[in-house]
């Protein structure tokens, strides 16, 4: 009786999504936070009538980075609050699968937020935007989320047994995410900022992909130790 990891991964991911569907704690908070953060950024960087197209990518990704902190911080909350962690850790689940399930959950939460946040950005901050640009921004989200989810999941697992984890997590997570924010904002600007520079866009996408791969390798190298008591 050897459990297969795809079955375990599917079960863990389904469990996280089911819990979220039932409680709606994390995604609703992330959505509200992202909308409020965008409004704050809008008031902070420009007055009514200003063209904010140049900073739209920055606003979007600064918002998403801060929103991701919420999602990552809550990724182990059901296990901790409902005191299930021992049951999960004592089950024969490869630690990499546990980590991957949280990557999947954080990725899904971010996608839901982006489904709202990207059109809002286009609506309020980008002048003369095209539908095709929106699709290209969607591709940026798909790639950038991977790096954010892998890094966030790794740090969330590392902080699982740490004291003051609520403080530790953002302090570690936000600076490590800075390259993603810069590259993703750059990628958005290169297609939606009026220049339509596809070569630059591809360069940023490549960077985001490499970032995800690097943190994927870091996670692979360290996963066995991140759940140590």
């Amino acid at each position: 009786m050897t459990p297969s990891w795809p079955r375990q991964l599917r079960a863990l991911l389904l469990k996280d999504l089911r819990l979220e569907l039932r409680t709606r704690d994390t995604v609703v908070a992330m959505l509200l936070f992202s909308v409020v953060a965008m409004m704050i950024f809008q008031f902070a960087v420009g007055s009514r009538g200003d063209d904010l197209t140049d900073v739209a990518g920055g606003i979007l990704w600064a918002t998403l980075a801060l929103t991701a902190v919420l999602g990552v911080g809550r990724s182990w909350v059901p296990e901790r609050e409902q005191r299930v962690l021992d049951g999960i850790l004592v089950a024969p689940i490869p630690r990499l699968v546990l980590l991957a399930s949280k990557v999947g959950a954080i990725y899904a939460y971010l996608l839901v937020v982006e489904v709202i946040a990207v059109p809002l950005t286009a609506l309020f901050f980008i002048r003369n935007g095209q539908a095709a640009d929106l699709l290209l921004v969607g591709v940026v989200c798909l790639v950038a989320n991977l790096g954010i989810a892998v890094l966030g999941s790794l740090l969330a697992c590392l902080a699982l047994f740490a004291r003051a984890r609520e403080l530790l997590l953002p302090v570690l997570f936000l600076p490590s995410m800075l390259p993603v924010v810069i590259a993703a904002a750059g990628a958005v600007h290169s297609v939606a900022g009026g220049t339509n520079d596809l070569a630059e866009y591809r360069g940023y996408l490549l960077f985001l992909g490499v970032y995800a791969v690097i943190f994927g390798l870091v996670a692979y190298a360290t996963y066995d130790h991140v759940f140590d008591d």
Binding site: A11, L12, K15, R83, D86, G87, A91, P92
Partner: protein, 223 residues
């Protein structure tokens, strides 16, 4: 051996648990009972010494050991916002069980929760949740049952059920139970280990002990 800071929570404990055997681990608060159990359950790494579970050496072969272990603690270790069925189906997938639906039905029936299988665990009383925890711990038919104060919160029906499981372990299965209930411990277990300040002060078969006499001796040992 396991340290927490400078304090040795478990030290010089040598336990050999054979198939078919039930060991009761007794001792006052802070004696190291739960720490010992958590080390065997792969939830804590020992700082020194060796632990082997069903031939798997910890921590290197923890994955193999975990397949053999059924663990029930003070908490039922189930998600309160999932239904009883969803909880057990999750664990059935995690343990790679064949025919998960039938196994889950049988497990829920065994603990008397089949009629409530579509209710979330949050709606359960403490005793019902602990019975669900018992079903979870037994779902994959573990070879080694590790129980940490398993009777805490169990209602009378659940306690009878657990008594039956421990009394009818069979020749293939073993159990290690941490408990404060001295009489129940020596009644159900074939052997008893008493810890004080992390060290063993008594290890002997319970057949040589009668309840009242052992209780007096135990009080003296842990005083």
């Amino acid at each position: 051996m396991r340290r927490f800071g400078e304090r040795r929570a478990v030290d010089r404990v040598d336990v050999d648990l054979a198939a078919g055997e039930c060991l009761a681990v007794l001792g006052p608060n802070g004696a190291g009972k739960s720490t010992l159990l958590r080390m065997v359950a792969t939830l804590l790494r020992p700082d020194a010494g060796e632990i082997t579970v069903c031939g798997a050496r910890l921590p290197d072969e923890a994955g193999d050991a975990r397949r053999a272990i059924g663990y029930l603690g003070h908490d039922p270790l189930v998600y309160l916002d999932l239904t009883a069925r969803q909880n057990l189906e999750l664990y059935a997938d995690l343990y790679g069980l064949d025919d998960p639906r039938d196994r889950v039905d049988a497990a829920l029936d065994r603990v008397g929760l089949l009629a409530r299988s579509f209710d979330t665990a949050r709606t359960f009383s403490r005793g019902m949740a602990q019975r669900l925890g018992l079903a979870r711990a037994l779902l994959h038919e573990p070879v080694l049952l590790l129980l940490d104060e398993p009777y805490a919160g169990l209602d009378a029906a659940g306690a009878r059920l657990l008594d039956g499981v421990l009394a009818d372990l069979g020749p293939e299965r073993a159990a290690m139970m941490v408990t404060h209930e001295v009489e129940r411990g020596i009644r159900l277990a074939g052997r008893v280990l008493v810890l004080r300040a992390g060290r063993p002060v008594l290890s002997e078969p319970t057949s040589e002990a009668d309840g009242a006499a052992f209780r007096a001796r135990y009080e003296e040992l842990v005083a």
